[in-house]
């Protein structure tokens, strides 16, 4: 099509259109330079959000897993320190019982027995500990209840149970039954928690681990049994019979030696869990970094490049302005005056 003239409107509207396009481009680039992230995500990913959504979900999940791993570490560390206390109590009392000084002197026996009774109280109160959120460490899934009845309550029950016994063997048998028999005193009113161990922690998307330790564990029962036997001696049971009481202290010493070894094994289990938690934390951290890099790869914008483009568009816009100004002066009407 050959025109002998070009209409005014076409030029002016074209210039207006270029102006609008360049201004929009300028806005977009300014936003990208400032945020470092593309301004139109849909266009950048070409309409496929699945990889980006996967990364965002995983990032959020990893952060939560880190929180959980942290909480698991605190929980297991609390358990560990209390088990350490139990072990120390058992070892201390068994050490003083090993020295044999009490065999000759009933007063020394009394002192040891009373310190064993204190150790029993201290062990029970330690096992009844709760974490920062009020959840019980050793009550299994019944996290809102105490793990054990109070030391006094248990000792009173034991005193009732051994009331008729006169020999050391008899008392020891009753106490052993009380602690270890299924459905015995310990299981009915001594241990207040649940039969299920504490719930597992989901440390990472594919790893769920837990600590299978409650106060009803045989290791703890053995230690408690040993301390309880010696505590009963402090209560002068069987009454007046020093020889029997000495036998009971011997039995207590043997139980405590076995028990403290068993508690060490228990602590090793908790330690193994703590190791798994630490591993999970490291893995999660690495995962998080990798995910953040991947995310930037999809929607990130090289700020140097964006700044360079911004410069270029600015220059283009300025050129357009001067062209518009010049063209508007090119009109015949000005020259016909």
């Amino acid at each position: 099509m050959q025109y002998s003239s070009i209409g005014d409107l076409s030029q002016s509207l074209q210039l207006r259109r270029y102006n609008a396009e360049l201004s929009a481009e300028l806005t977009r680039l300014s936003e990208e330079v400032t945020t470092g992230v593309t301004s139109d995500v849909g266009k950048t990913v070409g309409g496929d959000y699945r990889p980006l959504a996967g990364i965002e979900s995983s990032l959020k999940a990893v952060e939560t897993h880190q929180k959980i791993a942290n909480e698991a570490a605190q929980f297991s560390s609390g358990m560990q320190s209390r088990l350490e206390h139990v072990q120390t109590q058992a070892e201390d009392i068994s050490a003083s019982l090993l020295s044999d000084a009490y065999t000759a002197d009933p007063d020394t026996a009394d002192i040891v027995a009373r310190s064993a009774r204190d150790a029993f109280h201290s062990t029970v109160s330690s096992l009844n500990g709760r974490d920062a959120n009020g959840a019980s460490y050793f009550a299994g899934t019944a996290s809102d209840s105490d793990a054990l009845a109070s030391a006094d309550v248990m000792l009173d029950e034991l005193k009732l149970a051994v009331a008729g016994e006169t020999t050391a063997a008899g008392v020891a048998a009753v106490v052993s039954d009380w602690f270890n028999a299924p459905g015995g005193g310990f299981e009915t009113m001594g241990y207040l928690g649940s039969d299920d161990p504490p719930s597992d922690f989901r440390l990472s998307p594919d790893q769920t681990a837990g600590v299978e330790v409650t106060a009803a564990d045989p290791a703890i029962r053995t230690v408690l049994e040993g301390l309880a036997l010696a505590a009963l001696v402090a209560e002068d049971i069987p009454a007046g019979d020093n020889a029997a009481q000495r036998e009971m202290l011997d039995a207590s010493r043997d139980l405590l030696l076995t028990g403290s070894d068993q508690v060490v094994t228990l602590r090793a289990d908790v330690g193994y869990f703590e190791g798994a938690v630490a591993d999970a934390e490291t893995r999660n951290e690495a995962e998080k970094n990798a995910l953040e890099l991947a995310r930037l790869e999809i929607i990130g914008v090289d700020s140097y490049e964006a700044a360079a483009q911004l410069e270029a568009v600015q220059t283009q816009l300025e050129t357009l302005y001067s062209v518009t100004a010049r063209l508007s002066q090119l009109t015949l009407a000005d020259y016909l005056r």
Binding site: M1, Y3, S4, S5, I6, G7, D8, L9, S10, L13, Q14, R17, V41, G42, K43, V45, G46, G47, D48, Y49, R50, L52, A53, G54, I55, E56, S57, K60, A61, E63, T64, H65, K67, I68, E71, A72, N133, A135, S136, A139, G140, T141, A142, S143, D144, S145, S194, D196, P198, S199, D200, F201, R202, P205, T208, R295, T331, L332, A333, L336
Partner: protein, 482 residues
Amino acid sequence: MSISSALSNAVSGLTAASRAAEAVSSNTANAMTDGYGRREVELAARSGGAGGGVRVLGEQRMVEQGLISDRRVSQAAGAEAEVEVAFLSAHEDSIGTPGEPGSLTDRIDRVDSALLELSSQPDSQARQEETLNALNALTDQINTLSDEVQTARQDADATIDKNVDQLNASLEQVVDLNLQIQRNTISNLPTAALMDERQRVIDGIADLVPIKELPRDNGAVALVTTGGAVLVDGTAAELSFEPTPTIVPEMSLEGGTLGTVMLNGRPQNMETGGLAGGSLAGQFAVRDDLAVEAQAELDSLARDLVARFDDPAVDASLTAGDPGLFTDRGAAFDPADEVGLSARLTVNSAVDPDQGGALWRLRDGVGATAPGASGDNAQILAFHDALNDPAVPQSDAITGTQRSIAGLAAELASSVSTRHQNALSEQSYSNARTDSLLDLERAGGVDTDQELQKLLLIEQAYAANAQVIQAVDEMLKELMAI
């Protein structure tokens, strides 16, 4: 006598110059008017009679009809794409981009995190509340998305009603203008202004339906759509439409509960029929195609959510047939009722203390009658697994492959976004074409430089003719002085 014919020639020259000046003035006055056809005066030598002199044949309206037709067709396609893009863009915005707080995928992630945190402290009231809040936030958003889709359908329906009225009015106007132009042409009166007006009205129609203009006698035109429907040929066709003010997901065109445009009493297929291709067809595409597809995808997502949690293998406290964590407005889900599920999706009231439920059911199972061990997270971990396990969705509106719920939501967002990008590229192609055709059209418009140049000539011609008249006048006076 030759002196009197000289006079008459000069007078005709003056008239021609005045007519030309009138055209120039009209052009310069309308230099900024879009859609104005540049006037040019056609002159021819007078023949017959004494001979000599100039005759004004008429005022020509310089428009390139071919360009205008092409531009109108492209304009219609652009208008249709614009309507579809508007819907898809709004829908994609509501769904949000992954990572954006409040987006659909983000809310699902929030539920995932809340359940995970709860698993670490199952007895924590704060974490139970956060889990309930996260669940409610998710269902609220799915409800809102569904409501927005239906509102878009209602808006489309209302716009169709308005457009049909507008179309009818415009067609009547075209018939009217046709009549006036025919009359003026026969009486040799100027028709340019009327044609400008008619072009403007037809441009308005071209947005709604793609139009072809066919010439008829005496300057009248007939209007036919590119699909073959005759809108104006002598008389205007009659369009009618039955609006539906309230639209719910179950309503559809195929089901007979929604209306379509009737042309002279015959129902039109807006996808492939005579009226297809413009923004009117675009509104129908939104109402009957895009929005229905969007609704189906949302319903499929909702159904998958419900199915993951009402399975007794996941929630041990339920029996088969009981409503699970997600319900269809309180009741269990019935596969026959999938349409519109996303609008009715709610969290089971059994876990909401504000509705007579209890938060410990998030830990112990939706159907639990009494609280279980406070530190037991087995059910919570089961819920978390249910959320994340890849499963084939029961209805395949989104996809038929195994996905976790987050993956399914990402697929939904992707499919909407892909449709949006496609519609955008259609739109930008049409717009680019329309723009370039418009540029060519306007290039043939008024150029003030050229008009001023013509004015110079006209001034000269007028002055020359006036001089001739003066000279003839002198000659006659000489004659009279004898």
